[in-house]
Subunit: 228 residues, 2 copies
């Protein structure tokens, strides 16, 4: 399934680019003439019009989309887009941008699965650089920098994976692949942090791992990772 | 040393609050009447005036400050503040906010130690929620949520610490405290990721750790952590 990105401003344009770089198909919806000219020149798939209108979301393939990013500049419009989109496709994952501090709750009530406030996380990042600068660097390097030798990754364990029913210790993940399992997200939603070596891997577990880039392919085979 | 926060808008006000919550003393510089009234009512230490002027930075105690956050809304003013501040106190740690994509480089050239672009990291966060949602949740919970049972922390090893000259394995950090050492930042600046159990801890090493909150105090004693 593709992602619909509503609003191709400073946030939306960067989101769309990052998604494309990671192999996620995007369809852009924007009503500005300037953006239309830019996207036409760049040969990118887009719908010209306002994402607050059903017809535009329909044209963007909302019925078969995997998710939608509501990233126009007005919080009120993002609330309206979220409500409209969830009404048209309740299974859609909606991530909304909030500018005003009070809007996060309204966007959640409108049905947004996740809300991101750039000002809040910008401020939090600055504070972390003061309070815990080395952890901030560490997270940046392993989570956000794609060309690092060491990476944080996640894998969901498939029903026929060789890891199923095996303990972390016996799996050789740590010993042979030099990978640490930082946490396991259970299919029910709970997260087990720093799981002991005796933990048995189960179908549907999502392993949060940290290790060398070259180990991640082999680990993916062992987990028979489910592609979304 | 204290931190000077220049500009008490959406970003600066949240930064100042987070720093105070973490025990970092802040002095705010802002030239708006509205902010002056608000800070006076809240009984907070501030300098009324523009952070682009030497006198204001002097009044904010720049000569004895540990750092400065340049978070006014204009990138040009943040460049000017950075240049002025570094000229008055070259040892100052300067973190600057950038709004326009092209400003990051200019702020670095002006002497900023770190530059944060809220739009960029907001977009990156949205993309991560799509591409690696479980890792994003994991980082949020262990790094950003202060009341979690499990935390990522950093500790710098003091000259008389009991950890000095001991291997990670013999230290009992993993076995007795249930803490993982994710990385070690060497005093020279390099970062060793996922260090093997045979790694010897040295004076000045900064350990990036993940473990139960209740282990962190004990680990702090063992590292004889240097307070900044
Ligand atoms: Ca998957
Ligand atoms: Ca310290």
């Amino acid at each position: 399934g593709h992602f619909i990105v509503c609003g191709y401003g400073r946030i939306g344009s960067q989101v769309a680019q990052m998604l494309r770089e990671n192999g996620v198909k995007t369809v852009i919806v924007d009503s500005s003439d300037r953006i239309r000219d830019r996207l036409t020149e760049a040969n990118q798939e887009f719908i010209f019009g306002s994402a607050t209108e059903d017809e535009c979301l329909m044209a963007a393939g909302i019925d078969r989309a995997r998710g939608l990013v509501a990233s126009v500049s007005s919080d009120a419009d993002n609330v309206f887009i979220t409500l409209t989109a969830k009404g048209m496709n309740p299974n859609l994952m909606v991530i909304a941008r909030a500018t005003e501090p009070g809007s996060e709750l309204k966007l959640k009530r409108a049905g947004a699965d996740k809300v991101v406030s750039p000002y809040f996380i910008g401020a939090r990042r600055i504070a972390q650089m003061v309070i815990r600068p080395t952890v901030a660097d560490f997270v940046d390097l392993t989570f956000h920098t794609s060309d690092m030798a060491l990476r944080m990754e996640e894998l969901t364990v498939g029903p026929k994976a060789e890891l199923v029913g095996v303990t972390l210790m016996d799996s050789g993940i740590r010993k042979n692949l030099d990978v640490i399992v930082l946490a396991i997200k259970k299919p029910g939603g709970g997260m087990v942090f720093n799981p002991p070596a005796s933990t048995v891997v189960e179908v549907g577990d999502t392993l949060v791992t940290m290790g060398p880039r070259q180990s991640m392919n082999r680990l993916g085979q062992m987990a028979d990772a489910v592609e979304d």
